[in-house]
């Protein structure tokens, strides 16, 4: 027999959390479990995960600051992704996306027997993968996450100066330091195209960090452009193919 399932409840509304706790208590006999933590928003949930790891999260979709789907996407960077069950009161867009992608969700108000059914299934089902979760997202993430010593570190997207692909990883550069991320630059470009621009085959920079451009002469006499960024001394080369960026910004 396995140990009782550890559950975390994540919802920004206190009454909704209470309701889920009551329902969980109701089915404690037929489904042994333990509520290890409650969180009022996505960031809090991810912080709690490092000290009170849970095997399953009941995740509200609509929450301030970071929605439930983004929370699940950050959980992916853990060595072992916990099971997630999304909850929502009413969100036509989300419900359609969940049906299409065969991800389990519960409608609030949640019925006791539906909750029990979802809990029993959650143990066997594999948690949703990155591609599935990306399809569920209605907007780009507000954070990128990396795993360091078993903890999820969140990097606000607005703090990022540039993203640079290097061999297997993407380097995230902020004012303070660098992080290594295991994602493809192409996907990141797609997701953040509103705020980042590609200046080179291997590099995306934050548009609002660009302060200017410099022309640098090369040994063979040809010159190329470099971009000057706020928050770092580094200057990044712009490839020939992306030179139109200079013109676009000069406007």
């Amino acid at each position: 027999m396995t140990s009782p399932l550890r559950i975390m409840i994540v919802d920004d509304e206190a009454p909704a959390r209470n309701r889920l706790k009551e329902l969980l208590a109701d089915c404690a006999d037929s489904f042994p479990h333990q509520v290890v933590a409650e969180a009022a928003n996505g960031r809090e949930a991810l912080e709690l995960m490092s000290n009170n790891p849970a095997d399953l999260l009941l995740l509200d979709i609509r929450m301030p600051e970071m929605d439930g789907i983004e929370v699940a996407r950050h959980l992916l960077s853990l060595p072992q992704m916990p099971a997630v069950i999304f909850t929502t009161a009413y969100d036509l867009y989300a419900i359609q996306a969940f049906e299409v992608n065969a991800v389990d969700y519960l409608l609030k108000p949640v019925r006791g027997e539906r909750l029990l059914g979802a809990l029993q299934k959650a143990r066997q089902n594999r948690p949703p993968g990155p591609a599935q979760l990306q399809k569920l997202s209605q907007r780009p993430r507000t954070y990128l996450s990396v795993q360091e010593r078993g903890k999820i570190v969140l990097i606000p997207v607005c703090d990022i100066i540039y993203l640079k692909a290097e061999l297997k990883y993407v380097t995230i550069r902020t004012h303070e330091r660098e992080y290594l991320l295991e994602e493809s630059l192409t996907n990141l470009e797609q997701e953040f195209k509103a705020n980042f621009i590609r200046i080179h085959r291997n590099c995306l920079v934050a548009k609002d960090r660009i302060t200017g451009f410099e022309k640098v002469a090369e040994d063979d006499g040809e010159a190329h452009w470099e971009v000057v960024l706020k928050g770092t001394e580094e200057k990044l080369p712009i490839s020939r193919r992306q030179q139109y960026v200079v013109k676009e910004f000069a406007k």
């Binding site: 509304e13 909704a16 209470n18 009551e22 609509r62 301030p64 949640v110």
Partner: protein, 337 residues
């Protein structure tokens, strides 16, 4: 109770105290004068000259006519259409005659004969009555009521399900509050499902908003703070129902729910210059805001206000860097008028 039925009842004379009607009469009569001036003249310069001459005679008649019609409005409103129209034409002819006779010297009465002036007056009055009658038929109750019903505020299903969920969470621990919440919910839905074409009072609308906000408070706790400034509110002012509540729902949905820290919704209602001013303000963050839906509610209310009050009501929405404000101005209608 005043309702849309009275404003656009086919086969009744227009309401001559309505600003929109007065404005239309003013513009149309001046338009006809300008056309007449253009027909009589050969150059732009001359058109100007002709228009001034015509206006010198036409404007006093026009202004006096409007005053007379405004005064006679309550009495005219009770008459059947044809008799009313006949009396309006007679009144206009009498007025034209009097102005011509008494003020004739001022305008140089030689320029137009009394017979021609009376004929003009008759034609323009008849044309205006026919135009305004046709316009009111166009906006006939069937049509505008259908529009009104389609426009009737609909509560977000999201709110309903979250509220029921909140009540469910209280049933075991706090029965009293659960009972109160269900009472609030049923009051709210009674109004939502009622026939809302009749005007209700500002006090009733404010009570309804309080019930709505109680329910939101239940789920959002201290994240939702409300500041009411309604000491100078005319409680009996007539207002279309469900004008305030959807705006508050917007404020909660777009202003409070996307925040983790508490936010204040400011409600300011006061009377100034015989107009009721309603100002709602809520915090707003561009980032993390919910998509769409906001504009529709505001447009919807703007249209309902114009169906009820025509040009006498206004709604302006202002988006600042960290707040959102909606300001509504409606005429102060007392009940039973």
């Amino acid at each position: 109770m005043p309702s849309i039925n009275q404003i656009a009842y086919p086969g009744a004379l227009p309401n001559f105290r309505n600003l929109g009607i007065l404005l239309r009469i003013l513009l149309l009569v001046n338009g006809v004068c300008l056309v007449a001036a253009a027909v009589k003249s050969t150059s732009i310069q001359q058109t100007f000259q002709e228009f001034t001459d015509i206006a010198a005679l036409a404007e006093p008649i026009l202004i006096l006519s409007l005053l007379m019609l405004m005064l006679a409005n309550p009495w005219l409103g009770k008459l059947p259409f044809y008799r009313g129209a006949f009396i309006v034409v007679l009144l206009e002819l009498a007025l034209t005659f009097l102005v011509y006779r008494l003020g004739g010297g001022l305008f140089g009465s030689g320029m137009v004969s009394l017979e021609r002036l009376l004929l003009f007056s008759l034609l323009i009055t008849a044309a205006l009555i026919i135009y305004l009658n046709m316009r009111s038929r166009l906006l006939s109750p069937a049509l505008s009521e259908a529009r009104l019903q389609a426009l009737q505020a609909r509560i977000r299903p999201h709110f309903l399900f979250n509220s029921i969920n909140a009540v469910l969470s209280l049933i075991r621990s706090d029965t009293k509050r659960a009972e109160m919440a269900l009472e609030d919910l049923s009051d709210l839905f009674r109004v939502l499902m009622a026939d809302n074409r009749q005007l209700s009072s500002l006090q009733q609308e404010v009570d309804l908003c309080r019930r709505y906000l109680n329910l939101e408070q239940l789920r959002l706790g201290e994240r939702l703070q409300v500041a009411w400034h309604i000491d100078n509110m005319p409680r009996d002012a007539q207002i279309p129902p469900l004008v305030l509540q959807p705006l508050l729902e917007n404020a909660v949905y777009h202003g409070i729910e996307p925040r983790t820290e508490p936010g204040i919704i400011d409600i300011n209602i006061f009377l100034r210059n015989d107009q009721v001013h309603i100002v709602l303000r809520n915090p707003y963050q561009r980032e993390g805001a919910h998509h769409a839906g906001n504009k529709m509610a505001v447009e919807n209310i703007r249209e309902r206000l114009s169906l009820h009050f025509d040009v006498e009501a206004s709604l302006t929405a202002t988006l600042r860097s960290d707040s959102y404000q909606v300001q509504i101005t409606i005429p102060y209608l007392r009940p039973g008028k």
